[in-house]
Structure formats: structure tokens, C-alpha cells
Symmetry: C2
């Protein structure tokens, strides 16, 4: 006997191992991320987590910062617009790789250190392109907004394949053509809604405009 349930060794619960477990839980859907679920995965009791994070909110903030720190900027070239394109693509890929994180990041754009680092890296490119401080901030905000918004489109689909939006094209085609002629006519294009090609187009137009504005300013 004496198989008495042994309690967790005293130093074995650290913020890092908690966040590791939390991410594993979150990967099967952010709404599945509960203090109890994280604790269970660590074979600990829910309240044990509160010795390392004051609230769930703080745990989530730390988790999101951890994810955003994985951003790695592409190497710089001599064309700042191409650097910005690569930067935006890398950023969007990061969001797509952690689809579960998109919604909470979105609703809580915490100014964590990881976000600041991303901003710093983006500003370096924009300032190199000749933009003023104010314009660089505005341009970076625009790129960020585009990426977050776009990520929400794709995340909704990635997280719920076969969900209500699993066949947008068919749904749109079924609409009354008198009321929504263009929607019905573009139903096929909507089927690939949020595609890489569409993103490249949208980002491309933004960068075109940015390059024109920068070269105007430097003339």
C-alpha cells in the first residue's frame, strides 16, 4: 500500500511548463483553454496555476506573447518594398500557423514585448523606405490590420473545416440573382475566399501605393 497519491514536487510547476501545456490545450481550440484543462494536462490541481499567473487573463497574455515571439523577420535586401512584402507574408504565416491565437490576439491587442519587437522590425523597413515617423506608424498599422483581418477569415475556416462556411460558393450561388447579381456572378471567386492569391493582390495594391507615396516624397 502507501500508494497514496503523491503530490507534485515543489519546483516542478513553472510559468514555462504551464505555458507549454496551455499551448497544447489551446491548439485544439481556444475555447477549450480552461485553467482546469491546463492543470489536468499537468496532473496538477487547477489552483496550482495561480501561484504562477494571477489570473487566466494574464496566462493568456503570456501565451500570446510567447507565440508572437516566434516571428522571425526575413533577411533584408536592397528593395525595401520587397522586404516589406516578405515581412507581411511571414507575419501572416505566423498567424496562420497558430489559428487558435488569432481571435484572442485580435480582441486583446496587448502591447506585449513580442508585439513591440515586431513593430520595431517593421518600422526599420519603413523608415529605410523614406517614410516619416507618422507615415511609418500608419503604414505599419495598415499592414497589421490587413493581416489580422485576413487571418480571421482563414482562421475561421481552418479551425472549423466543414463548418457553416465549408461551401461558400454553393451558398452564394443559391441566393436570388435579382437581389444579389454580382454576388451570384462571383460565387466561384468567393469559393477561394481568403486565398494566398487574393492576399497577394490586396497586399500588392497596398505596397504599390506605398512605394508611389514614398517616391513622391523623396523627389
Amino acid at each position: 500500500m502507501a500508494v497514496k497519491r503523491t503530490r507534485r514536487p515543489r519546483g516542478s510547476l513553472t510559468p514555462d511548463v504551464i505555458l507549454e501545456a496551455a499551448e497544447a490545450v489551446a491548439e485544439q481550440g481556444f475555447e477549450a483553454l480552461s485553467m482546469r484543462a491546463v492543470a489536468a494536462r499537468l496532473e496538477a490541481v487547477p489552483m496550482a496555476l495561480y501561484n504562477h499567473f494571477a489570473t487566466k487573463e494574464q496566462l493568456v497574455a503570456a501565451l500570446l506573447d510567447r507565440v508572437l515571439f516566434r516571428f522571425e523577420p526575413p533577411p533584408a535586401t536592397d528593395d525595401w518594398i520587397e522586404d516589406l512584402r516578405a515581412f507581411a507574408n511571414a507575419h501572416r504565416r505566423l498567424l496562420a500557423a497558430h489559428a487558435w491565437a488569432v481571435a484572442p490576439i485580435f480582441t486583446n491587442p496587448s502591447p506585449g514585448l513580442a508585439s513591440v519587437r515586431i513593430g520595431e522590425l517593421a518600422l526599420a523597413i519603413l523608415v529605410r523606405g523614406g517614410l516619416s515617423n507618422a507615415d511609418a506608424v500608419a503604414a505599419f498599422s495598415g499592414m497589421l490590420a490587413l493581416n489580422y483581418g485576413w487571418a480571421s477569415f482563414t482562421a475561421a475556416r481552418d479551425l472549423d473545416p466543414g463548418g457553416p462556411s465549408h461551401d461558400v460558393a454553393a451558398m452564394l450561388r443559391a441566393l436570388p440573382a435579382e437581389a444579389f447579381p454580382l454576388t451570384v456572378a462571383t460565387a466561384d471567386a468567393w469559393g477561394t475566399y481568403g486565398s494566398d492569391r487574393d492576399y497577394a493582390f490586396a497586399l500588392g495594391r497596398f505596397l504599390d501605393g506605398l512605394r508611389a507615396a514614398a517616391s513622391d516624397a523623396t523627389i
Copy 2:
């Protein structure tokens, strides 16, 4: 006596009055929107709502559609780019006017009828500008993503004035300048993060690029 608590008259609970109450509740924060809170505001019992909406999720979807139906497109002119600018601004104003709705719309880009209507109206402008169906869908997606992303920035601030991001500029200025030189240097510009001016800049660059692409295509 016979002051027995009278129950609600039989026909008095309709989807409309429920949504009306739900919106009033949601306006003090989306997380405050619970079935129980909506029922309480109607002096009804929580389960009464389930005679009209199968789940909370469906109630929320109907509520969001109701809000998005308030979008009114600006009148058309003979300059499609200017029409698109006005359209984007009107759309963003709608989101800003219902900041609580931004997060749920974002996480659940439901293809409700109101969204379809907005898409139809946007496509009309883009097709008039000479874009192909595929490009029109991509351009609209980009505008939508920009607006949703941007709205999330401002909504976070509007919903929580005095919150952790109440003085971004001061926070950024306090960062180590060696690690984040550009962030510190642009701290002032970050203070107006998400401003109308910044949005106008970002949208403007996108529209510039779009106009150039369209005129290229028609030559």
C-alpha cells in the same frame, strides 16, 4: 392578495424584442451578454429565450446580422475610387459605432444576409472600376480585412478607456532605446495609434494601388 407574480403574456416574447434587449445588454460589453442578462432585462426567465433561439450562438448571429444591416452605402459619384473610399469609411464608422460587436463579428465572420448585402454593394463599385471578378473579390476582401483589423485596434481602446493601453506613448517611451530605437523615436506617433488620419493614410495607399492596377488593366 392574488398579487401572485403574473407571468409574461403569451405572445410578448418575439425574436425582435429579444434582440432589442440583447443589444442593450451587449452595449455595456459583449462579455456581459448572457442569456440570463437578456432574460432579466425582459423580466423573463432565461429558458424563455430558447423558444425563439435554439442556442446563444444563434441569438448572437442574429444580433450581429441586425447590426450589419444598418450599413448604408454613400451615394455614388462618377469616381469609383472616391466611392470606394466613402464606402470603406462608412463601413468603418459602422464598426466603430458598435465597438462591442467587432470581436464577435471578427471571430465569427458569419455569412449572414447583411454581410452578403455589404459585399454586393462593394462589388458594384469595384466592377464599375473595371476589375475582374477575381480581383474585385480580392480587393473587397482586403478592404474588409483592413477595416476589421483596424476596428479591433480602436474597439479595444473604446471599450476600455483608461485600460492598459491608455497611454501607449508613455509606455513605449519607457522602453530601452538600445533595443527598440525606432519604437521609442516614434512613441509620439504611436500615441495616436489607430487615428482617423492613420486610417486615411493606409486606406489611401491601398486605393492608390487599386486605381493604378485598374487603369493598367484598361489600357
